[in-house]
Structures are given as C-alpha cells and as structure tokens.
Amino acid sequence: MGLLLLCVIWLITIASTYFFIAKTWWLPAGASASAAAIDHQFAVTFVLMGVIFVAAQMALGYFVWKYRDRASANNASYSHGNLKLEIIWTTLTLILFIGLNLIGGPIWAAERFRPAADEATRVEVTGIQFAWYFRYPGPDGKFATTKPELEDPSAGGEAALGLDPSDPASKDDVVTGIMVVPVGREVEVILRAHDVIHSFFVPSMRFKQDAVPGLAIHVHFTPTETGSYEIACAELCGLGHYKMHGILKVVSQSEFDQWLVAHEAEKQ
C-alpha cells in the first residue's frame, strides 16, 4: 500500500507539472507592453511554487512508502516536534511569500497607480447585457453627456448608450461595435456598465477590469502588436454571459486615423 501511494502521488505530481512545463495549454501570446512583465512574474511565481509543490508531494510519497508499518520497521520515534526547524521553515516561507509579493508590486503599480498618459487614445467601453459598445470622443476630445432615460439597447449604437443629441459635444462622438486602436500608443479605457457588472477581458493584452454600474473606471494598456484580438466578458452578467464578446483591432496609426475619419464622415 505504501508503494502504491508513492506511485500514485508521484505520478499525479509529475503529470501535473509536465503540462505546465510543456505549456500544452498556456497564456495566449502577449501583445501589449505589460505582457512581458506579467508573464515574467507568473514564471517566477511558477518556478518557486513549482519547486515547493514537487518537493512537498515527493516527500509525502517518499515518507508514506519509507515509514510504512511492516515487521522489520523501527518503532515510531517519540518526538513532539522541533522548534528550531519550525522557526527556520516559518522564516523562510515568510521571506519567500512576502518577497514574491514585493517583486510583483511594481507591475501592479505600473498598471493601476498612475493615470493614463495625456496623449493616450481614449475609448469609452460600455458593457450592456450582452454586448460591448465603444465610444470615441471625436476631434473635440470630449465625450458628450449620456442619459440613462435615453438608453435603448434594441436600437444599438448611440441610442444604446443614451447619447444626448442636445449636447453639442455629441456631434462628433463615434460609437462602434468593434474596438480599433493604434499600435504602440497607450489606450485609456473608461469602463462603464448600464445594468449589471461586466468585466472587460482581453487575454492577449493581459488586460482585465470589471465594468461596474455607477462607476467610470479609468484604466490603460499599450498594444504593441497589430492584429485582431478577442474580447471576453469575465464577470457573470446573466444568461448571455458566454456570448458577450467583442473584437479589438490594433492597427497602425494611419489606418486608425483613416478609420476614425471614415466613421466621422458616415455620421455627418
């Protein structure tokens, strides 16, 4: 029984670790400025936790086999523990865990403590059961007023957001169903939700933030690769949660400018 336990515990450990190391299923390729730092912090955490995981499981399997009861076994040792070992172990784990946390701190600070740069592309992202809407302020750089009583998701576009046509700033606001941003420039996302909480999740950008009714949450990321990326909803928002998705297109600055101008023109 001891040997069987050893084999099972070791096999589980090896198999679990193998699929992490082989990266059979892994983070999608990162395409934003913060991806490298986040992935690196993940790798550091993974190595440290992985070593403890393998060591602890291997020790468990080994002890179970080694100290199994059998005719030739020694009597169990009469020991109530070892204070010195306990203190060493506690100190080590304290340093490890808190240290790991401090290493990761600056990444979080870079993501969330500082506001977006002044020259960032500003996009308002609104979650409404079960779609994402994107709004650009247009040449005046101002988002026009929206009013809850004007919101009409069945009409889509500007009406879904409840854009107030009496506000002069609304003339050049562009509302779209896909998100287009220029590459290599910071994007400031202003997150809103009308009904329930949604969560704006772009795995390739290593970007996630809840959109909360009643709040306008300012966050930012910098796409570094052009391409088309999927946006998911990561917070349970109702029966259509699984299909609340969108597309983020990262294009060159000139393509972005053309795209925006075309939408402005369409609106006039």
């Binding site: 403890i52 499981q57 100290y67 040792s77 946390n101 109702g238």
Partner: protein, 576 residues
Amino acid sequence: MVAQESHEHAAPQGFIRKYVFSLDHKVIGLQYYFLALTAVLVGMFLSLLMRIHVVWPNASLPLLGDIKPETYLSLVTMHGTIMVFFVLTTAPQGGFGNYILPIQIGAPDMAFPVLNMLSFWTTLVAYLVMLAAFFVVGGAPLHGWTGYAPLSALQSAGPGEGLGADLWITSIALFCVASLMGALNFITTTLDMRARGMSMMRMPLTCWSWFITAILGLLAFGVLLSAGILLLLDRNIGTSFFVPLGTVNGQLTGHKGGSPLLWQHLFWFFGHPEVYIAILPGMGVASQVLSTFSRKPIFGYKAMVYAMLSIGLLGFMVWGHHMFMSGMSPYSAFAFSVMTMAIGVPSAIKTFNWLGTLHKGRLRFQAPMLFAIGFVSLFVSGGLSGPFLAQPALDIPLHDTAFVPGHFHLIMGVAAIFGIFAATYYWFPKMFGRMMNERLARIHFFFTLIGTYCVFMPMHYLGLAGQPRRYSQLTELTYLHHLLPLNRFMTYAAVVTIAAQLVFLFNLFWSIFKGVKASDNPWEATTLEWTTATPPPHDNFAGHTPVVYNGPYEYSVPGAPRDYVMQSDPATVTAH
C-alpha cells in the same frame, strides 16, 4: 460549571424525542451529517449536468431535456451554494463537531441542547427553502453563489432573478441564523464544559479546529445575514443599498445611489472566513488521523494551534483579494495582497508539521489514513495556486478564469471533502458500532484521488489559456475552441469520480447494518471518545466523568506498556 449542570437531561424514550426532535448532540450530529449527505448528492448531480452541458451544449438529457444557458447558470449557482453551505459548512462542523466535540472534551452534551436542536431544524428549513428555488416560476437564480449585485438585486436582470432569487437569499439568511446558534453553542461548550484535566492545550487538534471555526462563524455569518437582508430589501421594497442609477434592457430600474461594491465587501467579509470554516475542521481531522495512524505524537502541537489561530485571524483581513479587478482602490489591493501572502505562512507550517508527523512514524494504511494523506496532497496542490491569485498583477490574466475554480475546488472543495471522508471512516465505528469495509474504502480512495486531480488540475491550464468561469459553452469565442478536448477529458474524469462515490455510499449503508462489529477503540487511539462504549451511551460516559492526565497524541511513548497512552490513563503522566 453552571452550564454543565443545566444541560443535563434524561435519556428520552419515545421515537420522536429520541431520533427526530432530539436534544442529544450525537443524534443532532448524525442529523446534520445525513442532511449534508443528501445535499452533497444534489450538489454532485448538478455538477455532472454542468460538465455535460459545457462540452455537449446541444445534448438532450433523458427526463431533463435541453439545458439552456440560463439553466446552466442556475446549476452553477445552486451547485456552489449547496456545496459551500449545506455540505462544507454543515458536515464537518454541524455533523462531526456536534457528535465528537463534547465526547472529546469529556462533556455529557453540548452546553445548550435546545439551541442545538433549533440550529439543526433551522438548517433543514433553510435547505428545503433552497431546494424550493428549483421549482418556482423562472427557476433557481443565475447570479452564482457569490450573488453579485445588481444582477442579484434586479428581478429584470434575468430568469431566476424573481422568486427563485428571493428563496435563495431567504435560505442563506436562515442558514446564517442557524450557524450563529451553532457557533455560540460550540464556543460555550469548548470553554465551559471540558473535563477535569482537559486544559485548552491538551485538547485534540480537532477540538481546536471546531472551536476556531465556531469563532469564525460567529463573526462572519452575522455580516452575511445583514447583507442578505439588505439585498432582500433592495429587491422587494425599493431600497438602493447595492443598486446605482441604471437601466436593464433600456428600462430604468427605479434605483439610484447604491454601490455594487458594497455587496462584494460584505459578501467577501463573510466569504473569505467561510473558506476557513470549510477547511479548518479538515485540518483538525487530518492532524488527528495522521498522528494516530503514524503512531507518533503530532509534530509541533503548539505550532499547529497557533497556525490555526493565525489563519483564523488573518482570514478576516484578506477579503479584498477577491476584488482586485472590481474597481476598488488599487492601493488597497496592495495591502490585501500582503495579508493574503501572509496566510501562506501558517498554511506552510501546517503542511510542514504533517510531513514531520509522518517522518519516522510507523504508518498504518487504514481508510482514514489514506484520506488524511490525500488531504495533505490536495492541501499542498490547492494551496500553492493561492500565491498566484494573491498577487494583483497576476489576477489581471487569472481572475474569473477557470484557474480560480481550479484553486478553490482543490483546497476548499476536495481537500475539505477528503477531511470529511477521513472523519467518516475514522469515527464510523464509534458512531455505528461497526467497521466500514476496507477493500471498498481503498477503491473509493484511489479513484477519488486520481479522479479529482483529473478534474481540477486541468482547470488551472484552462484558466491560463484564458477560459472564463461560468461560461455555459465554449462555442462563441474562437480562442476557446482548442480547449474543448481538455474539457471533455475533465467531464469523463468527473463521471468516473462520481461513480466512485457510489462505492462509498454502498459501503456506508451496508456497513451500518452489516459491517463487522467494532471494538471500543479499533484504531488504538488516545482521545476520550475511544474510552467510552461504542456507540456512546446517552450521556456519553455512562454516568462517569472522565479525568484527563495526558496530552492528546501520546503515541510510542518509551517505556509505556502499549504504543499509545490514552488521555485518561493516569499510569503514565507525561510532560504534556
């Protein structure tokens, strides 16, 4: 000692007073246990339907027909709620705590037997109200076990958010009331009713774990109760605690000024300690069983006690780590993150001490020991994914992905369930006077251990690949398509694991009636429950009050006549 006098009650004669409205902590413990057993069967069945729907969303099931996306979310909600409240909270504390704690500390019953009975019956009513949510118009709520507002606060937010959601909240509120009654009883019993010589530092670690769990329950359930009442008010009389100005489907909700984050703060102020409410008793049982079946004193008894106390204390300071992506201040994320990492330290102490207990022991692999070893393995696996999620920077890719259910299922789900299994196999002889079948227990153990790893370890891979939680199907996002084969594998593993539980069920009921008769102390263990008759008489010690001379885990004491010294053995008075 006043409580000790007041609780005494004569053995009841009639069937109703003896087995139904019983005041006996042992009967109440079994009532809780069997309530949890029915609940776990329901919860497990719901999870099976979920696993089937995720990988075959168009499958039509016999009798049940098609599962719609909203039905899937109802399954998610009810699976989580039933498992957390009516299984993981009910079985270890209400079941085993109730049955074993008074005997282990040498008391004839709980301090407040009537309160104890009331607590059970309130829990039962809560359970029935919860199940009723399935059968009302609109069905069970789809807002998940965390019930985030405004989804949970607005009737128009989705199917199931009508009467089903009201029943769900009412059930949880009733459960909170029951748990508060139970917590008071456990705390008073532990503090006031210990036998002579049973100092706090001589209590078995199981008693410590129930005691600390009760303190957590007392502080946490009150908050959830208040939050639940506020949510009911928001839903039914138009208050706006959790709902800001907004619309659903273009219609104004009529609310304004509330804060969705307030619900999350209140919920997780309960929710995080709840994790420890579920797992602490498992830690106690694992310690007890590992020591007994290693024939060795527990490694670092005091460190174990202080580790549990600090886990309990820190458990109240980390709720914000569930909310890194919620929109709360990013600075507070920093503080919550450090406190969360700090919880890793006492958890590491416990693991270290369990391994230390096995080291140089003489291990007997009976069923309780197998599950205790499995507990340690799962605790390590589930615990070590914690430091990933505790870092806000890593929560950016991982939060609300399958990585999170992978983490908490291993640690507070399966590890806690392994604690319950270890406890079942360990105390079954004391409770029913018969032994469970070892061969069936081994089959049950290996299939369950391998099966649960096959279900829950892959969830970490899925989470890394970006599969969000609570998706009823993976068809809509193209980057999820390649994850379908792995999801199918998990569904197959779940079927095998669930089948293995039938072996347990058969073993349990067969052994109650047909098992080999058990002696009073079949495991050669040291704690007080093994000094009394099997099953114990109504007042636990047949009129005799035990006196305690020794610490709880005196195994292989040099010079002792046997390899264990009972707590009540006056012959060998040891240092502890």
